[in-house]
Symmetry: C2
Subunit: 246 residues, 2 copies
DNA sequence: CGACCTATTGATACGTATCAACCCGAGTGG
DNA sequence: CCACTCGGGTTGATACGTATCAATAGGTCG
């Protein structure tokens, strides 16, 4: 499913070249990054790292989907990040990982050892600028997610989640709204439940409810057809005047 | 209640000198910051800025408490940030504000016009480094908050909130746990409810419950005495092995 | 003193969790 | 080729936690 590594071992042909931490780098800087990067792949279901692990490596997601989650002892789990291609894993300046990272599909990472990467942050301001921009974007996303978790109903949560995936998936230059669209769900019902602060049963019931009301159609477990994205947006409880998210 | 502006108009005597965006600056850089900063004060209850406003100014909280919140049309509101001294308001590179910002106590801000501040970010890497560090800290805090909102019970939410305030309030060098402590609540029951994804009535009931169980004592509406912080920590549902947050 | 705001307490409703059964497609092995 | 099992998903009955609606209490200010 993933491109073989050989196809992307040169940064200039990398699929996340223009969205990841390296987005602003010029050719010279890219050469430097290229020199210290290495790829690592994980198969679906595999644990990439666990809370408390030493954080020796930071990485960008090149392909596939991973999750960031936080758990309490009694088993309750909250997904706190959905890592899609171009998203960054790990944090410069911190020695241990705060969250569990899991590959939900086959995943390929573009990795850097943390120490040299930190040194590089200082030398190449373009990387640091992009890191800051990405961190602030994630912060905004996290805050929207807090509104969802704290104040939205189960149905609104599901609709919001579908909109989120639709937005992240669609061509960055393309329009999103106003027409039929197929949404490929990157995660299972259980992961969705953990993302939305719900149980798997409630997630399932809300899918059924939205289907019966004609808002969505289901095509297998991992694919949703949305006849009218505007209707779905209304169900999500989000302001229409929210401004462009990407 | 606040120090008069004249007492802090020199950066070197500023109370947030070592925690705000300027924390890593040397004396020369401080002079440059000093040259373009200006103070602005708001009284308790005042709106500092609203969602959609042009973001011409960015600022650090010097004293007082402000909130960042997100609302949906029907009145549901979620607090997405609690801004205490040294916290930063606004985002370089973005032209409009995403959240409503309100002063909950009298607040003094150290302001910069956004454009010159952005230029300064490029010139003074120390500021950008610190901005990145602070953004990542906030991201971690937001993720912890997502766990709270999505998975914790009302009682755990209240206990977690009290622990959060205790941690932010205590002397940065001082120990927190193991002894009696008085926590001054910076916000009203309503704001707490909006922070925790609860109603004001539930917040009140949980306070009563924790009081009846001897976990806390109430001294007026804005002050909580905690006989044993360890007990409160247990009530919060957080792992004890969570590592130091600050 | 009365008006008002914030917080508390009470009665009840409602949404989601919980517990349990069932369905379905994919492997797997006889 | 079919029976079996297994994991993920759906559906149903019921329980429980928190929201909602309503009344009361306490403090502050005019």
């Amino acid at each position: 499913m993933n491109k073989p590594l050989t196809a992307i071992d040169n940064c200039s042909s990398c699929p996340i070249r223009h969205r990841a931490v390296c987005a602003r780098c010029d050719d010279d800087e890219l050469v430097e990054l290229n020199g210290i990067k290495f790829y690592k792949s994980y198969s679906a279901g595999q644990t990439i790292a666990m809370r408390g692990d030493a954080l020796d490596v930071v990485a960008s997601v090149v392909s596939g989907t991973a999750t960031l989650e936080r758990a309490i002892e009694d088993g309750r789990t909250q997904l706190v990040g959905l890592l899609l291609p171009s998203d960054f894993i790990g944090r410069p300046g911190r020695a241990t990982l705060q969250y569990d990272v899991t590959a939900v599909t086959d995943v390929t990472l573009c990795c850097f050892y943390r120490k040299p990467f930190e040194a590089l942050l200082v030398r190449i301001p373009h990387v640091q600028e992009r890191m800051l921009e990405m961190a602030l974007d994630e912060l905004d996303a996290a805050r929207d997610w807090m509104l969802l978790l704290g104040r939205k109903t189960a149905r609104e949560k599901i609709a919001s989640f579908l909109m989120l995936i639709a937005k992240r998936t669609v061509h960055p230059d393309g329009r999103v709204l106003g027409n039929t669209s197929r949404i490929e769900l990157p995660i299972s019902r259980e992961a969705m439940a953990n993302f939305l602060g719900l149980t798997i049963e409630t997630v399932s019931r809300q899918f059924t409810g939205l289907r019966k009301d004609g808002v969505i159609e289901l095509d297998g477990n991992r694919s949703v057809i949305v006849p009218d994205l505007e209707t779905l947006l209304l169900e999500s409880g989000d302001d229409s005047d929210g401004g462009p998210l990407i």
